[in-house]
């Protein structure tokens, strides 16, 4: 099931695999999407739903599944759900569901701005007696704080158990409700539900694919979670052919979150030190972050964190100075893209580096973002061409219309030429966490350099400038561990001799022992005593020994291909793959065999003894479990990490070892996905009194006006999206004539019904308006778009691809002049997939 994704168009190369499954193996492909796209064209079934009603559709599937005969009679589902998910776990009796509070959960603050998760917690047994009295290490400190085990009712009958809560939560998500809310024919919904049910179980697994069609919503995280719930109930997680495939936006964007370009995250998904949390000292940081997770593999948090700080400051990071923790930057709030631009507009940000991004086109409410750029003192843009962001000061729509004068813009813009990917060595980490090295084919022309060259040389210059400083505050720069000088052999065949060493960078990310600089083969080797260095613990093993880079490996086979590249963590391609075996460790079926317990297998322990019994994977797949932990093993109540986890706890990164149907922590907008209307919607929420996500992030600032619910001035839904022919804001494509002529101009996909109502003719100009701006586009009148009937009322939807700007060989208005700053509360992703607008025939006239 492809939903929230237009895989054929936006991931055309990866789409060969679903297509191969369909043509060679008879897989059924279903596409659930408001539009009929090139993906729908290739699928067996297209199911149209109104934009942003995904949780209703998925919640409907959940309800359908748990009430179905198949799910209630095939023992597979119960065995999987009772043992591997938290369905049986008992929740705090004070918890109140959205069914009780008309769309809200218990714990919402009086001002309605934030939830306290205090009532979402598990019921627990008393805490065990700590095994240590005199804590010496961080691990000892954690051992003193182990909580009692969660209480559970394996019969799933207790009214406070997760399963009963879940059942009540989705009881009104019936096929009829799906039809009413989503505008999708009931029969098509039932077809999807039956197909998923019939293709899940011991012998079969179903997969769900999504992309930014799910993320870019004020309920983005909850939509994805909702799919997770469905897959858990269907027993489709941790098993071959199952899971949820998150398609990332472009090459190595997975890598960019792993090694953390995100403001709140350190490499390897450790949290950024945060002035708002109890992070005052290193000990506070370690305990605050690892105590809630210590009964999972995150119990090793201190080892990962200390090794990260050693990677930052090398020999200068010592136990005595808390490994330099006090010198590490701390965040003070949400510094992600949207609030960063609000801060920029308010003069709080003085300088700005832009690498691989074009916010003047790609940023939500792009006019606002361009005006914010004008408030900077300086900006460095590194790119291939003079992007709209680099040129905003001289020819943006605001400048052309005379609203802004270049002379009044004080921002000093430095435009530097960047190297293209084939002009540098490095690695991609793609959507399924596979790290693959790529070669440098040629030097970039003239002064063009790679971003890593720029960053490295900038660091070297800063270190030189600060080398004589006696200020303590300059310690982090003076002591920054910054040695990526290339070996002569690495640059021998190239003109550019000071390109940093890709190998040394990856070796530091992989980790090595500080004393003898030997690469670490696994993250189990990491220490909390400062003897190991590791840039990102999840990548450990990609360079298992000196000179061996597994990301270069290219051994393919007919299935998992463990010899092709390196899939973090520890070359595990299917996470939580202990769940591919039943409670006793036997494969669920011969067909779906992956990882299982072999009681006869001999294993040598580190002290040389031989024991019997081990998890095995003949395919060569990495085993996402402790290999010697028998299925019957009962975890230690007063242990942490693998000591606490039992042999039937496949979900080793969760503090209870179970997949979460109900999230007792970690989400700011509720423990269960719930249908809320998008922030701007033409309809009132048909399910609850609560209209939209109560804790969605909004910025009520000048220049960012919002539409009302069912706003008569803006009655039409608009989605923005991408096409195969262009990439994102078009920097890599709009300057290339071959691609420019394939999709030369902005167009608006509109149904014949709406076009007739508005007098809009195919291929002629039309104007799309919001309170933020208006753009003109060529009309593409097509039955691939359709009106939806929602609660008896007709709702129209249009679509706008957003690739164009005023530079390059394919030019048009900037679609994001229409969009608005509003975001998901968990991750601050914008709601670009749905907002409201109005349309009319003809060119815009006046300001864009």
């Amino acid at each position: 099931m492809i939903m929230g994704s237009n895989m054929a168009e936006c991931h055309p190369v990866a789409f060969r695999w679903p297509l191969k499954a369909k043509t060679d193996h008879g897989a059924v492909l279903m596409h659930v999407d408001p539009r009929f796209t090139r993906t729908s064209a290739m699928c067996d079934l297209h199911v149209p739903i109104r934009a942003a009603t995904d949780i209703t559709f998925l919640g409907g599937l959940i309800s359908y599944v748990i009430h179905s005969k198949r799910w209630n009679t095939d023992p597979f589902f119960k065995e999987y759900v009772v043992n591997y998910t938290n369905a049986a776990t008992l929740v705090n009796p004070d918890f109140k569901d959205t069914e009780d509070l008309n769309g809200l959960f218990s714990g919402l603050s009086e001002d309605g701005k934030a939830y306290s998760p205090a009532t979402w917690t598990y019921q627990r047994h008393p805490a065990p007696a700590p095994p240590v009295t005199e804590p010496k290490t961080f691990t000892d400190m954690l051992l003193q704080r182990v909580p009692g085990r969660p209480k559970a009712d394996p019969s799933l009958k207790d009214p406070h158990c997760v399963f009963q809560i879940l059942k009540r939560h989705y009881q009104r998500y019936t096929p009829e409700m799906v039809e009413k809310v989503c505008g999708c024919p009931k029969e098509k919904f039932v077809k999807v539900a039956e197909t998923l049910l019939n293709n899940s179980g011991r012998d079969k697994t179903s997969n769900i694919v999504y992309a930014v069609g799910w993320t870019q919503h004020t309920v983005g995280v909850q939509i994805i979670r909702c799919a997770g719930l469905l897959q858990e109930l269907l027993g489709n997680i941790g098993r071959p052919g199952g899971g949820i495939l998150a398609l990332r936006g472009h090459a190595t964007i997975q890598g960019s979150t792993d090694i953390a370009t995100l403001y709140h995250s350190l490499p390897g998904y450790l949290n950024m030190p945060d002035a708002r949390k109890n992070h005052d000292t290193f000990k506070d940081f370690i305990l605050t972050e690892s105590v809630p997770l210590m009964t999972s593999y995150w119990g090793n948090y201190p080892k990962f964190a200390v090794s990260y700080f050693k990677a930052q400051w090398g020999g200068a990071a010592t136990k005595e100075n808390d490994y330099g923790y006090d010198y590490h930057p701390k965040i003070t709030g949400d510094h992600s893209h949207l609030p960063m631009f609000v801060d920029m507009m308010n003069g709080r940000i003085k300088g700005f580096f832009v690498m691989g991004q074009n916010p003047a086109v790609g940023g939500q409410n792009a006019r606002y973002q361009r005006k914010a750029l004008a408030k900077l003192d300086w900006m460095v843009v590194r790119d291939y061409f003079e992007t709209e962001t680099a040129a905003f000061w001289r020819n943006s729509p605001e400048v052309k219309e005379g609203e802004v004068k270049p002379a009044d813009i004080k921002t000093e813009v430095f435009f530097l030429p960047a190297a293209m990917v084939s002009e540098m060595e490095g690695s991609f980490t793609n959507t399924q966490r596979l790290i693959q090295q790529h070669e440098k084919a040629a030097d970039p022309p003239d002064d063009a350099r790679s971003d890593i060259w720029f960053t490295y040389q900038l660091g070297k210059s800063l270190k030189k400038m600060y080398s004589t400083s006696s200020h303590d505050r300059d310690w982090p720069i003076k002591n920054l561990f910054w040695d990526y000088e290339p070996d002569a052999s690495e640059v021998a065949t190239f003109r550019i001799k000071d390109e940093p060493s890709a190998y040394k960078l990856l070796k530091e990310i992989n980790g090595y022992t500080w004393d003898d600089k030997k690469p670490l083969p696994t993250f189990a080797n990491l220490k909390e005593d400062g003897s190991t260095v590791c840039g990102a613990w999840i990548y450990t093993g990609v360079i298992p020994e000196e000179g061996v880079n597994k990301a270069r490996s290219r051994k393919a086979d007919e299935w998992i291909s463990p010899g092709w590249g390196f899939s973090w963590p520890a070359n595990r391609h299917i996470m939580y793959n202990r769940a591919s075996a039943d409670l006793q460790g036997r494969p669920w079926s011969e067909k779906k065999k992956l990882v299982y317990w072999d009681p006869k297998k001999e294993v040598k322990t580190p002290d040389g003894k031989v024991t019997r019994g081990s998890w095995v994977a003949p395919s060569g797949e990495g085993i996402d479990f402790l290999p010697t932990k028998a299925p019957s093993f009962r975890g230690k109540d007063n242990g942490i990490a693998f000591d606490w986890l039992s042999g039937n706890d496949p979900f080793i990164m969760r503090p209870d070892g179970k997949a979460w149907l109900f999230a007792p922590a970690g989400l700011v907008d509720g423990p269960l996905p719930t249908h809320y209307e998008p922030y701007e919607s033409p309809v009132a929420n048909p399910l609850y009194k609560q209209q939209s996500n109560p804790v969605a992030k909004t910025w009520k600032v000048p220049g960012n006006p919002y539409h009302k619910v069912a706003d008569p001035d803006f009655p039409i839904i608009v989605s923005t999206y991408r096409l195969t022919e262009h990439h994102l804001s078009g920097v890599m494509t709009r300057w290339l004539p071959w691609l420019a002529e394939l999709m030369p101009e902005l167009f608006c996909e509109i149904s014949p019904e709406l076009a007739a109502e508005k007098g809009i003719k195919n291929a002629e100009y039309m104007t799309i308006e919001t309170a933020r701006g208006k753009v003109q586009a060529r009309a593409m009148v097509t039955r691939r778009m359709r009106p939806f009937t929602v609660d008896g009322k007709t709702v129209h939807e249009i679509g706008l691809p957003w690739h164009w700007g005023w530079q390059g060989r394919a030019q048009s208005d900037v679609v994001n002049n229409l969009s608005v700053l509003v975001a998901d509360p968990n991750v601050t992703i914008h709601e670009g997939k749905v907002f409201t607008c109005n349309v009319r025939a003809g060119k815009r006239g006046g300001a864009a």
Binding site: A8, E9, P12, V13, F15, R16, L19, T23, F36, R38, S40, A41, M42, H46, P48, N395, L723, T724, E725, P737, W738, L739, A740, E741, L742, M743, P744, E745, F747, N762, A763, R778, A779, M780, T782, R783, R784, R786, G808, R809, A810, Q811
Partner: protein, 270 residues
């Protein structure tokens, strides 16, 4: 040596147009000049060829577009029947090639691998080949004064490589190889599709124009994809047209006889 060719399985074409771009990149073809225009304030020409015809903006094959992906939207009013077909079109390298036979200077030749290509240094730009192609494949370029079309990547295939379009195709919709092998593949795929309920699926190019070295699997009649059901190349038309000439001569003779008779009759009736 077996002829080389391509099997285009339109049932797995996603309409991504990678073939169009790969073709231009390998063969050094520019953007189509008529697709771009000067724009004040910009040192480069800007594309202006939006067509409004589904996702097809290049619209046809030309001297710079040797590949063209067609987009066919078929939806009824209530969308209960909904289909969006894609098919990548190019020169078919016919065994009975109209262009080759029409060329008065033998600039259009067939190589040992069966592909038909235009020798640029021999072409005199007479354009006789253009109407001789039943597929509208071959086009004249003002800049070179010669005609151009797909060469089946003549340079690549004579150096052991496949065509650029087939190499770039992400789904394997365009397959390059020996024609007999490709036919086996096509036959097997046709059987599979028929089993899956695609009753109208058919292979186009086994018999047309003496057999096409680039042939297609369509999910509907060739006309749906803009291909003539019975393509006629001029050399076939010769037999037909000579027949037409004889018939016309007889008709004229008979007509004349009648006319004269009428005139004679009129004479009798003053």
């Amino acid at each position: 040596m077996n002829a080389k060719g391509m099997f285009v399985d339109t049932s797995i074409c996603t309409g991504c147009k990678a073939c169009q771009v790969a073709c231009k990149e390998w063969n050094g073809l520019s953007g189509e000049p008529s697709h771009f225009a000067k724009k004040a304030g910009y040192p480069y020409r800007v594309a202006n060829n939006f067509s409004g015809r589904s996702y097809d903006n290049t619209q046809n094959l030309s001297a710079t577009d040797w590949r063209h992906v067609r987009f066919i939207e078929q939806f009824n009013a209530d969308r209960s029947e909904a289909r969006w077909l894609f098919a990548s079109d190019s020169c078919k390298h016919c065994n009975n090639a109209g262009c080759l036979n029409a060329c008065p200077v033998q600039a259009i030749v067939r190589t040992d691998l069966g592909n038909v290509f235009v020798k640029q240094e021999v072409c005199i730009g007479c354009k006789y080949c253009i109407p001789a192609c039943p597929y509208g494949v071959i086009s004249f370029d003002q800049r070179t004064g010669t005609v151009h079309k797909c060469t089946l990547c003549n340079d690549r295939i004579h150096n052991g490589l496949g065509t650029a379009c087939a190499k770039a195709c992400p789904t394997g919709s365009i397959a390059f190889g020996d024609v007999p092998d490709l036919k086996m593949r096509a036959d097997a795929r046709l059987v599979q599709l028929k089993k899956l309920g695609y009753e109208k699926a058919n292979i186009y190019g086994y018999d047309e124009a003496g057999g096409l070295n680039v042939f297609y699997l369509f999910l509907d009649k060739p006309e749906v994809y803009g291909q003539p059901e019975k393509p006629v190349v001029p050399q076939d038309r010769l037999h037909i047209s000579s027949g037409v000439t004889v018939a016309a001569a007889i008709a004229v003779a008979v007509g004349a006889a009648i006319a004269f008779r009428e005139r004679g009759e009129k004479k009798d009736k003053p």
